[in-house]
């Protein structure tokens, strides 16, 4: 187990804040996007891209790399923020995000954005695609691990559970699903739209090793991912309890911000609340 230093924790927290700020800037610039689910996943992306994943921005197709699938592809802004900050491409490439000549698509496209391991956007695919990747890594005796981030609303899709069953059958301990559980989806609170109660028990019943963490605690996320590496006979599901729109008071827990764009004033207010104005180069 890694014991994170105070400096490491504050550094990851600072990265998460900047991923939030960049996500909102990108969405504002494009005039379209999904801020709520990008903000809820900021610590998860920060920990994955700046601590956990064995990746090389200079060689994005390195065959032994760990893989990450953003199954909740509508949170593309936070993935682009992480990839750009990690050095896969220049952030300025997103200046014209949304224009037809911008390579980076509305939802992640593995053929157009370096570092995107799998095209996503239609919800539900990540777990089953992750099963295939994990099987491939095992056959090749590769140390490559596969990480899939799914949403809680996404878990309403049946294909998620088809993939979950297959992962358990093959005891894919090199597969980790992180579930961004923010209880808000497009139409409203998840517990009203289509309740997915007993989430942990559902995954356990499917044969997964399940742990629950605070999805905004970088320390808990790192510990969870560390523990996942010690599980050798099952796939692992880390249920990350999060707040949709986290970090921006007027966006938190409000389904309006699933897919709406802040005004200029709202963006400025949000950046102020995130406290990022002083770290322009950070």
């Amino acid at each position: 187990m890694t014991e994170l230093s105070y400096e490491q924790i504050t550094s990851l927290e600072k990265i998460a804040r900047s991923l939030r700020a960049d996500s909102l800037r990108f969405i504002y610039g494009r005039g379209s996007g999904h801020p709520g689910g990008a903000l809820s996943a900021a610590e998860i992306l920060a920990v994955l891209y700046f601590h956990e994943l064995r990746i090389d921005p200079q060689h994005p197709n390195w065959s032994e790399r760990d893989r990450f699938i953003l199954s909740k592809g509508h949170a593309s802004a936070v993935l682009y923020a992480a990839l750009a900050r990690r050095g896969f491409f220049d952030k300025n490439e997103l200046k014209n995000w949304g224009e037809v000549d911008c390579p980076h698509q509305g939802h992640p496209d593995r053929l157009k954005t370096p570092g995107v391991d799998m095209t996503s956007g239609i919800l539900g695919h990540g777990v089953a695609v992750g099963v295939g990747l994990a099987l491939a890594a095992r056959m090749k005796k590769s140390p490559s691990r596969t990480y899939v981030l799914i949403g809680d609303g996404e878990s309403q899709a049946g294909i998620v559970w088809e993939g979950a069953a297959a992962a358990a059958k093959y005891r894919l301990s090199n597969l980790v699903v992180i579930l961004d559980l923010n209880d808000v989806q497009l139409d409203g609170p998840m517990h009203e739209i289509m309740p997915m109660d007993h989430m942990a028990q559902r995954w356990e019943a499917c044969g997964w090793y399940v742990m629950q963490v605070n999805g905004h605690s970088v320390r808990q996320l790192v510990e969870g991912l560390d523990l996942a590496r010690e599980i050798h006979d099952k796939p692992v599901c880390i249920i990350a309890r999060t707040t949709k729109g986290k970090g921006v008071s007027f966006m938190e827990n409000d389904s309006f911000w699933h897919g709406n764009v802040p005004s200029k004033e709202q963006l400025e207010q949000a950046l102020l609340e995130l406290g990022v104005e002083e770290e322009k180069n950070g």
Partner: protein
């Protein structure tokens, strides 16, 4: 050999080819004893994955295997593969352009005794509309077997359409076979019958019958519906002036649709499409009888051939 089913030709070939190419893997959906991917499973158990009755999952698992550097053959019934997992195929196979091979078994009406729920009569149309997809329709067991290495070695998505039973044998093992290249089976000047899959053998029978009446039909096999061999079709259009298409698929969107679209834009000539009418087909007692009952008989091809020949400018039927 004549009695070998197309699925057995395919299944045995996949198992054999797997010995030479360690990258080939197979996924099935609790149908390996039907698709006959079980030959592969027996030979290469460490490279075979049965995900249960879950076609969307099977396709996505195949996608992951392809991303991991393998060449997955995803085996399932065509009706389910082409419809239940169509979104997976659209998004994760075609749009993401992953190297997945869809082995679509029990295609067309070939699952005659299970009835219309199990018929795949729109699958070519479903697949044809998707960018990046290659569609291959073998005509018999020997050709299905011969396509296995070609399909595996083509980089990109492939939909390989496999019938449950045997068809009239046409393909000579060892003869030339190339994805995207049609086969001229028989020369003729009065019209061309363009056929795919199980209808190739029937088209050749129809041509023999027409010959007796002094109508000389060319017979061209189009096994690759996409990308379509425009050259052989344009030559046929220019040299014979009329075309009949024949396929075990609805008339909309399949081979007949592809040929009509091509020639309407390049060299318009009379065309008749022999295919399944715009209705659901009944259950049958045997495949030959069911094909006959569903508008795919040799007589149907002959009727269409006479009709297009009459439609040719100045065309009148001989005899």
């Amino acid at each position: 050999m004549a009695e070998l089913s197309m699925r057995e030709g395919y299944g045995r070939a996949l198992a054999d080819y797997g010995k030479m190419n360690p990258k080939v893997v197979a996924v099935d959906v609790d149908t390996s004893a039907s698709t006959l991917s079980h030959f592969f499973a027996r030979e290469h158990p460490e490279r075979f994955f049965n995900v249960g009755i879950a076609e969307p999952c099977a396709v996505d698992v195949g996608v992951g295997l392809a991303l991991g550097g393998y060449i997955p053959f995803v085996n399932a019934f065509a009706a389910l593969l082409a419809l239940r997992s169509l979104e997976q195929i659209r998004t994760c196979v075609c749009y993401a352009n992953t190297n997945v091979k869809l082995a679509a078994s029990y295609a067309g009406l070939s699952d005659f005794k299970d009835g219309p729920t199990h018929f795949a009569m729109t699958d070519i149309a479903n697949m044809r509309a998707l960018p990046n997809m290659n569609i291959i329709v073998p005509c018999d067991a020997a050709q299905a077997a011969a396509f296995v290495p070609l399909v595996a070695e083509l980089v990109g998505p492939v939909y390989l359409r496999i019938n449950r039973g045997s068809t009239l044998p046409v393909y000579q093992p060892g003869s030339a076979l190339q994805i995207g290249k049609g086969i001229l089976h028989r020369q003729g000047i009065d019209l061309t019958i363009v056929a795919a899959g199980s209808m190739v053998g029937r088209a050749l029978l129809a041509a023999q019958e027409l010959d007796k009446d002094g109508i000389h039909a060319r017979v061209v096999e189009i096994h690759t519906i996409k990308p379509l061999d425009g050259e052989i079709l344009l030559d046929a259009a220019k040299e014979t002036g009329a075309i009949v298409t024949a396929e075990e698929h609805v008339r909309a969107g399949g081979l007949g649709g592809a040929v009509s679209e091509l020639l309407a834009e390049t060299y318009p000539i009379p065309i008749e499409r022999v295919g399944i009418r715009d209705e659901f087909c009944p259950t049958g007692r045997n495949i030959e009888g069911l094909l006959d009952a569903c508008g795919l008989s040799v007589a149907e091809i002959i009727f269409a051939a006479r009709k297009v020949k009459k439609m040719k400018p100045g065309g009148t039927e001989k005899q």
